[in-house]
Symmetry: C2
Subunit: 336 residues, 2 copies
Amino acid sequence: VDQQMMQRARDRLDDLTKPQGSLGMLEQEIIRLSGVMGKVIPEIRSPAAVIYAADHGVAAEDVSAYGPEVTEEMVVNLCMGSAVSSVIARNQGVRLMVVDVGVRSVVRHPGAVVHKVANGTQNFTQGPAMSMTELRSAVQVGIDTAHALVDDGHDLLVTGEMGIGNTTAATALAACLLERPVAELVGRGTGIGQTQMARKQSVIERAIQQNAPDPNSPLDCMAKLGGFEIAALAGTIMAAASRQVPVLLDGLMTGVAALWAVRLNPRVADYLFASHVSAEPAHRAVLEALGLRPLLNLGLRLGEGSGGLLALPLLQNACRVMAETATFTDARVTNP
Amino acid sequence: VDQQMMQRARDRLDDLTKPQGSLGMLEQEIIRLSGVMGKVIPEIRSPAAVIYAADHGVAAEDVSAYGPEVTEEMVVNLCMGSAVSSVIARNQGVRLMVVDVGVRSVVRHPGAVVHKVANGTQNFTQGPAMSMTELRSAVQVGIDTAHALVDDGHDLLVTGEMGIGNTTAATALAACLLERPVAELVGRGTGIGQTQMARKQSVIERAIQQNAPDPNSPLDCMAKLGGFEIAALAGTIMAAASRQVPVLLDGLMTGVAALWAVRLNPRVADYLFASHVSAEPAHRAVLEALGLRPLLNLGLRLGEGSGGLLALPLLQNACRVMAETATFTDARVTNP
């Protein structure tokens, strides 16, 4: 990122007709956007949301409030324009791309982009979730998709996911990468009760014990405990950063994907923006590890990029403020 | 508010294709909007922002980072479309009305609506800020303006203000209405340092001692310690509630105005939505007293309705979600 541009952005912000610092955290984010985009006045003209969908073998362990068939059903719903994120994206004029990177069955809608690595991951309580070859393929899908979106002129990517069982995979991956106890990180996912949450915790603990991933090898952790959509998200995040395109994260899965990407390349962290902190304890831990402050804290736990889409107008408005607000000199407002 | 409609809204939310409760706090707010508007699917088609501007005699006590001439200058800036809130309102297609309810000089722009009660309040360290007649006039300006906006078809009002010195007045009013020590409530306003903040605190303490307002008489508190823009905001809030139009509050001044309105008519509280909690300690205290949870917590301290305008898309998106998301039955998504 361009440090000199960030200083120029800071100077401009302080010269606009408002008390200095009065936009609070938005001022930091606008300055970071300036650095990422290399412009004193950053612009978000054409954001796009990309949602990766995949299934998880671990869903067989009854760790979710929903059955695994719901992944495909919700992908269809997203493509139909009738899922929550489709509605918010349409309302805001944001392109929404849905990529099947590993749904276990054929998606019954032509709107989904199909780059299926496999029909879901393996159940990681019985061995690795995926092979190294599969991991590389999933990351590559994310990289290629990001480049295609940037080539299409999109200047900010909102990241999202759909995959029944994926908070189990993401929490396992977070516990592994952060080297923290599962008990501190496990959450209610789509809304499970105490009994099911205890099972989810023990499933994750068993999987970590069984697979013995090396916390110092992000690749090993992802292959053993991850998911195709999480790997694809990481690819997209890395590729977007390489193109100087900011990435607006959503919830836990996108956060873990970002953490994994940052472990491979620490400079990726500068390109990340946290839309919200969710109800998942692991999400908060991941954001802290990334050094990111969330824009929203509404107890969201929906996924599909919904938090990113909801927070997007904050960044867009901040950009407009940077572009169109008068300076004290311009407006002849007395500045002490 | 319509309790039966709120139950129907809750039922519909639980039937939409998303995990139950997964929109977190937005679900409570959408249910409250349903109750206010009397519609299962509430709509915000034509929101308007109204900003009341007035000067404060207490500005003479050097309690702000800016001189009192800045009120008029910023009203012109708002009318020119080049202040922060003008930019955000325009970007979102929201009508912005600026009302001079007591700026000390003539506003040099024809865009401002002029309903001047007086050329600023009196310095309340030396007696009441305004007379009872002036108080009634200022409240009436707010009532009439709200009715005119609702008559024009506006279905949600974002409230805002401009007035150098008004965090001093609002903090005094909050201390009086909440019967809490000034030291716990005083804040940095537009960004004053420690020395000036100590002076601000002692000015407020002196004003309360000097005027001895009756905490059980909201009218007495407002006349002795308030401001014309705060009184007008209260009138707008009461009138909007009487028309079943939701009010999206901004920062401290709008919060104190709402608290005052609620003291006169407790049912007004149901119509209020808190856009954010600001850096002012008194704002947090006021929101707690009103039982409101803020949508944003970004450390904003700008005023002009900026926080309300920034939070507005959250409510608008929530309304679209309520209207356009498929139910489990519609989308044939398996619901356990």
